[in-house]
C-alpha cells in the first residue's frame, strides 16, 4: 500500500491527481477508485458495468497504466495520477481516438466506450503503430455487447495514423 496519512474515523486521507487536478480526500478502507471518481468527484464518464473486474467499462489510466478502477482501492491509488475519459480532450480538441471512435462508428450504446478508449490510449502511448492484432489483444479485457469490435479496431488504427500526422484515412 502506498504511504498514506493517519486514519480519521476509520477513513484515510489521500491525495490524488485526477485529470491534472489535485484532490485531497478522506476515503473508507473499502472504497474503490471507481466509486471515488463517480460518487465523490462526479466523474461519471467512467462506467460501472460489473464491479468485479470482468467487463473493463471502468478502465482508467493510473500512472499511465490501464486499470479496472473497480478493483483498485482508493487508498492504493494514493499519490497516483489518474486520467479518465473526461481528461482526454485537450483545449477543447478531442483526442484522435475519440474523433476516430465517432467517425468510424466504434460507438453504439457507448457504455463500454470510455473504458475502450482509455485502454487504447495506453496502447498507443506504448505502441504508436500497433497492428490490428495488437489492438484486438489490448482490448481483450473490455467487453462490448452491441458491436463486433471490428469498428473499434478500425478506429484505433485510424487514430494511430492521425497521431503520426496523417489524416486517419487508410
Amino acid at each position: 500500500m502506498s504511504e498514506t496519512g493517519r486514519c480519521q474515523n476509520g477513513k484515510t486521507p489521500i491525495t490524488l491527481k485526477v485529470n491534472g487536478k489535485d484532490y485531497e480526500l478522506l476515503v473508507k478502507p473499502n472504497e474503490t477508485l471507481l466509486d471515488v471518481l463517480r460518487e465523490r468527484l462526479g466523474l461519471t464518464g467512467t462506467k460501472k458495468g460489473c464491479d468485479l473486474g470482468d467487463c473493463g467499462a471502468c478502465t482508467v489510466l493510473l500512472d499511465g497504466n490501464p486499470v479496472n478502477s473497480c478493483l483498485v482501492l482508493a487508498v492504493d491509488a494514493a499519490h497516483g495520477e489518474v486520467l479518465t475519459i473526461e481528461g482526454l480532450a485537450e483545449n477543447g480538441e478531442l483526442h484522435p481516438l475519440q474523433d476516430a471512435f465517432i467517425q468510424y462508428g466504434a460507438i453504439q450504446c457507448g457504455y463500454c466506450s470510455p473504458g475502450m478508449i482509455m485502454t487504447l490510449k495506453a496502447l498507443l502511448d506504448r505502441q504508436p503503430n500497433p497492428t490490428r492484432e495488437q489492438v484486438m489483444s489490448a482490448i481483450a479485457g473490455n467487453l462490448c455487447r452491441c458491436g463486433g469490435y471490428h469498428k473499434i479496431a478500425e478506429a484505433a488504427l485510424a487514430a494511430s495514423r492521425t497521431m503520426h500526422g496523417g489524416d486517419g484515412k487508410s
Binding site: 463517480r38 466523474l43 461519471t44 464518464g45 467512467t46 462506467k47 460501472k48 458495468g49 460489473c50 464491479d51 468485479l52 470482468d54 467487463c55 467499462a57 479518465t84 475519459i85 473526461e86 482526454l88 480532450a89 478531442l94 475519440q98 474523433d99 471512435f101 465517432i102 467517425q103 462508428g105 460507438i107 453504439q108 450504446c109 457507448g110 457504455y111 463500454c112 466506450s113 470510455p114 478508449i117 489492438v135 484486438m136 489483444s137 482490448i139 481483450a140 479485457g141 473490455n142 467487453l143 462490448c144 455487447r145 452491441c146 458491436g147 463486433g148 469490435y149 471490428h150 469498428k151 473499434i152 479496431a153
Partner: protein, 781 residues
C-alpha cells in the same frame, strides 16, 4: 439508391460525441437531492410458501429509511398475463424473486439491512424442466392462472403450467407427408441465454406530494412502463411520468420491469427519490433470460428437393412469470417453417411455466431458437437426399407471390439473393483450404425469416426553429441501435438540411409523443415513417410561407441547404426568413406532426394461425460461416462469417454495418459457449467470467452485406428492420460448418468443446486418427 442527400449514406452517429467524451449521463449516472438507495431481498427457494417475514430489525438500522414487503405493495402486473407481483406475496416461484426491499442512505447500508431481514418458508415441490412441467402430477406454479386478467394474445390453460399455446394449420400436412419421397424428423434444444448489456438495469422513482409518480428508467418503452405502473397501482395514466435517460444496451432485456416496481414501492413508502440498480449477479440470476427451447421438426421432401410438408412442435420454457412469453411463442410459431414456401404446415407451440428465472424477449424474439432447429434440420435433409445445401435452400426459398406458413402471399422478399451473396462471399463450392495438422475446416450456411411486431403506433413531433434547427420529439428508445441518427437523417432528407441541424430528444411521457416500445426491430419502419410524415408536414408549412413571400407557386419550390429555392434558381429565401415573417410573423418555430400505425396487421386465426397480413413486415437474411475445428480439444474456431440482410433500403449504412457485425458476434457467443447453467433452479454461472461472452480475441472477420434489391412498399424509402434478425441465422451456420468440417451433427446448443469432442469420439473420429489433417467429409463443397 441515388438521389438522396443522406439516406443510405455512411453517417456518423449523432449520439456518439457525448459518449466518446464521457459527457452522456446514463441512467446509472443520475443523482438528485434526497436520493436514497434501494436493495432487494430475494427468494432463496425455487418454490415455497412464505410463512413469516420479519423486517423489524432492518427497519431499526440507522440509515434505513424504508422497508417494504408484498403487504405494503400488494400490486400485480403483466403486459400479457397479469401474473407477476411487485414483491412476492404468500408464494415465491423462483430463486431470486423479490420478496422485500430496503431503502437506505447508501447502498452499503441497504445491503447490510438485507442481512437483518428474517423469513420463514414452507418449501413446495418445484419443477425446473418444461417437459416435466407438462406431465400430469407436476406442481402447478400458478393455481389461479385461470382467473388472472390477460390480453387477447395469451391462451393459458387453467390448472396446468401452460402459459400460452399456438397453432398453425395450413393445408393437409398428413397428405403432404404421404406425397413426399422422404420424411425426416429431428429434435433440437437451446439453453437460457443472458442479455449481458454492459449497463445493468436501473431506475429512480419519486412520488411528489400531489401523488404524481415519476420514474427515470433505462427502459425500452416509456409508455409501456407508464401503462403497467398506472394499471398496477390503479392511478390515472397521466399521473405516472416515465423519463428514459440514455442507457447502456437493451437487447430486449429492458422491456420487462426488473427494477421499477421495487423502486416505486419504496418511493411510495418513504417519500424520497429511490434508486435501484441491479448488480451483475442479480442481472444473471433474476432479470430475464432467453426462453430455452425444445423443437421437434418433421419435413416431407420430394426426391428433387421440394419440401411439401412441415410439422413442428415447440416448447418454450417460460420460467416463473409470463412477461413477453406468449408473444415470443407467436413469433417463434410463425417463423419455424423458415423462409420457405411449404404448402402444408402444422405447428403446435406451448409456453410452459417452470420454477426458474423468467424468460422474456432477447434479441431475435424466439427466432434464433427456431432458426437453430429448422436450419440444422434443412442441412441434415440436404445431406440425406444428396443435394447441395445452398441449392436446397434456393429451391424452397420464398419469393414474391409465394405463400408463407400463415397463408400470406408475400412481397418484397430477397432471401434468395441473401443466400446467393453469402455463398459467394464465403467461397461456397470452392476447394477447401488446407487446415493445419490436427484441425479440420468446413463451411456452412443458414437462411432465415423474422417477424416484426403486432399493430403498433408511432407518433413524432418536429419543432423547426427560426434558426433552421430541428428538434425531434420521439419516444423510440436509443439503446445503441442507432434510431436517433435514423430519425435525424430522415428529417434532414425531407427538409434539405444537414444532419447536424437535427437533434433528437430522450423519451419522456410528459413531452414526447406515444411510441409504446422499441422492440421487434420496428423503430426504423414505424418511427421512421412517422418522422417522415412529420417532416413532410413541416415542409408543407414552409413551402406555403415561402410561396407567399416569393410570390411563386409552391410546386416550383424545393428545400436545400436551409433555404427554400425556386427550381429554376431565380429566387430563394432562408428558413430563418420564412418563420417570423408573413403568415408566420408571430412565431419563432413551426411544428410538424406525423403518425404511423401498422393497422393493416391482422391477428392470427386462433385455430389455424392463418392471416393474410400477420405482421407489420418480415425480415430475411442469410449467414455463411467458415470454421476450424480442433480435433484434439473440440474447440470450434470461427474464421469468418458473411452476413447478408434484406434491409430493403439502408437508411444509415454505418448503423446497418454496426448492427450486422454486432449481431453476428452476439450470436457467435451463443453458438459456441453461452449458456446459463442451473442446479435445482439456481444459476451457477452468474458472472461475466463464468458466463463468457465473445471478446475481441474470439471475434472473427464478419462481412456485412446489405441487400437492397427488394425495398418494402410501406417502409420509409423502402427500409425494413434489421437489429434483431442479425442474431437469428448464425448458430445453425456454425453447426452446419462444423458438420462440413468433421461430419458430426450436434443438435443441442451451445457447440461446446465437450459436446464436439464427445460427438467426434462417438463417431470414431477422435483426434489421433485425424491428426494428419485429412478428414472424412460428407459434404461436397
Amino acid at each position: 439508391m441515388s438521389g438522396f442527400t443522406t439516406i443510405g449514406k455512411f453517417e456518423p452517429r449523432i449520439d456518439s460525441p457525448g459518449k466518446a467524451t464521457g459527457q452522456t449521463r446514463y441512467i446509472t449516472d443520475l443523482s438528485m437531492p434526497g436520493l436514497v438507495h434501494g436493495k432487494v431481498f430475494r427468494s432463496t427457494h425455487a418454490h415455497a410458501r412464505i410463512l413469516r417475514i420479519d423486517t423489524s430489525e432492518a427497519e431499526r438500522m440507522p440509515g434505513v429509511v424504508a422497508v417494504v414487503t408484498g403487504k405494503d405493495a400488494p400490486y400485480t402486473y403483466g403486459r400479457m398475463v397479469e401474473d407477476e407481483p411487485f414483491l412476492a406475496r404468500d408464494v415465491v416461484r423462483y430463486i431470486g424473486e423479490p420478496v422485500a426491499a430496503v431503502a437506505a442512505i447508501d447502498e452499503a447500508t441497504a445491503e447490510d439491512a438485507l442481512e437483518k431481514i428474517r423469513i420463514e418458508y414452507e418449501p413446495l415441490p418445484a419443477v425446473f424442466d418444461a417437459r416435466e412441467a407438462l406431465s400430469p402430477g407436476a406442481p402447478v406454479i400458478h393455481p389461479n392462472l385461470g382467473s388472472y386478467p390477460k390480453g387477447a394474445l395469451p391462451t393459458p390453460v387453467a390448472g396446468t403450467n401452460i402459459c400460452s399455446r399456438l397453432k398453425v394449420r395450413k393445408g393437409d400436412v398428413e397428405a403432404g407427408f404421404a406425397q413426399s419421397d422422404f420424411v425426416f424428423e429431428h429434435t433440437f434444444t437451446t439453453p437460457a441465454i443472458q442479455h449481458c448489456y454492459i449497463e445493468p438495469c436501473a431506475a429512480i422513482a419519486q412520488v411528489d406530494p400531489s401523488g404524481v409518480i415519476t420514474v427515470w428508467s433505462g427502459t425500452q418503452g416509456v409508455h409501456l412502463v407508464q401503462q403497467l405502473l398506472s394499471g398496477a397501482l390503479d392511478v390515472p395514466i397521466d399521473r405516472v411520468r416515465v423519463i428514459q435517460p440514455p442507457y447502456g444496451g437493451g437487447f430486449g432485456g429492458k422491456v420487462p420491469m426488473h427494477v421499477e416496481p421495487v423502486a416505486v414501492a419504496l418511493a411510495l413508502k418513504c417519500g424520497r427519490p429511490v434508486r435501484v440498480v441491479l448488480n451483475r449477479e442479480e442481472e444473471f440470476t433474476c432479470s430475464s433470460v432467453r426462453h430455452p427451447s425444445i423443437v421437434t421438426i418433421k419435413s416431407g421432401v420430394t426426391r428433387d428437393g421440394r419440401i411439401l410438408a412441415r410439422k413442428a412442435s415447440i416448447i418454450l420454457d417460460k420460467g416463473a412469470y409470463a412477461r413477453t412469453g406468449p408473444s415470443v411463442l407467436r413469433n417463434a410459431g410463425v417463423t419455424v417453417s423458415g423462409p420457405y414456401d411449404i404448402p402444408h404446415v402444422w405447428i403446435d407451440g406451448l409456453c410452459v411455466y417452470t420454477n426458474k428465472v423468467p424468460s422474456s424477449s432477447l434479441r431475435g424474439y424466439g427466432t434464433p431458437q427456431m432458426a437453430w432447429a429448422y436450419e440444422s434440420h434443412m442441412d441434415m435433409i440436404a445431406h440425406e437426399i444428396g443435394m447441395d445445401p445452398v441449392e436446397f435452400r434456393l429451391k424452397n426459398a420464398l419469393r414474391d407471390g409465394g405463400e408463407n406458413a400463415n397463408g400470406e402471399k408475400v412481397a418484397y422478399v430477397a432471401v434468395d439473393r441473401c443466400i446467393e451473396r453469402v455463398a459467394s462471399e464465403i467461397g461456397w463450392g470452392q476447394p477447401r483450404a488446407e487446415a493445419p495438422p490436427g484441425k479440420a475446416r468446413g463451411k456452412g450456411i443458414s437462411s432465415v425469416v423474422k417477424a416484426s411486431t403486432r399493430p403498433a403506433q408511432s407518433i413524432v413531433v418536429l419543432r423547426l426553429h427560426r434558426s433552421g434547427r430541428v428538434r425531434a420529439l420521439i419516444s423510440a428508445s436509443e439503446m445503441g441501435q442507432g434510431v436517433q441518427t435514423v430519425v435525424a437523417q430522415i428529417v434532414a432528407e425531407e427538409l434539405g438540411l444537414p444532419v447536424d441541424r437535427v437533434s433528437v430528444t430522450q423519451p419522456d411521457t410528459d413531452y414526447t409523443p406515444f411510441d409504446e416500445l422499441t422492440v421487434a426491430s420496428k423503430a426504423t419502419f414505424h418511427t421512421g415513417n412517422a418522422t417522415r410524415a412529420a417532416a413532410i408536414d413541416l415542409r408543407r408549412q414552409l413551402l406555403e410561407g415561402a410561396a407567399e413571400q416569393l410570390g411563386v407557386a409552391q410546386d416550383s419550390l424545393a428545400l436545400e441547404g436551409g433555404r427554400i429555392r425556386s427550381r429554376d434558381g431565380s429566387v430563394s429565401v432562408a428558413i430563418s426568413e420564412v418563420i417570423g415573417k408573413g403568415r408566420y410573423r408571430a412565431a419563432n418555430e413551426l411544428v410538424g406532426t406525423g403518425m404511423f400505425v401498422s393497422s393493416y396487421v391482422k391477428p392470427l386465426d386462433p385455430e389455424t394461425g392463418l392471416s393474410d397480413s400477420p405482421v407489420a413486415f418480415w425480415m430475411y437474411a442469410a449467414h455463411a460461416a467458415e470454421v476450424e475445428v480442433d480435433l484434439e480439444t473440440g474447440h470450434v474456431q470461427v474464421l469468418k462469417v458473411a452476413a447478408a440482410h434484406d434491409v430493403g433500403q439502408a437508411i444509415n449504412r454505418l448503423g446497418c454495418e454496426q448492427q450486422i457485425q454486432g449481431g453476428v458476434v452476439f450470436a457467435l457467443g451463443q453458438s459456441v459457449w453461452e449458456e446459463t447453467m442451473f442446479r435445482d433452479g439456481r444459476v451457477t454461472n452468474p458472472t461475466l467470467l463464468d458466463y463468457k461472452v465473445f471478446t475481441s480475441l474470439d471475434t472473427p472477420e464478419v462481412v456485412p452485406i446489405l441487400v437492397e434489391d427488394a425495398p418494402h412498399g410501406l417502409g420509409p424509402y423502402g427500409a425494413k428492420g434489421l437489429g434483431e434478425v442479425t442474431t437469428t441465422p448464425t448458430a445453425a451456420a456454425i453447426a452446419n460448418a462444423l458438420y462440413d468440417a468433421v461430419g458430426v451433427r450436434i443438435t443441442d446448443l451451445p457447440l461446446t468443446p465437450e459436446r464436439v469432442l464427445s460427438a467426434l469420439k462417438a463417431a470414431g473420429k477422435s483426434s489421433r486418427r485425424l491428426m494428419s489433417g485429412r478428414v472424412a467429409c460428407q459434404c461436397k463443397n
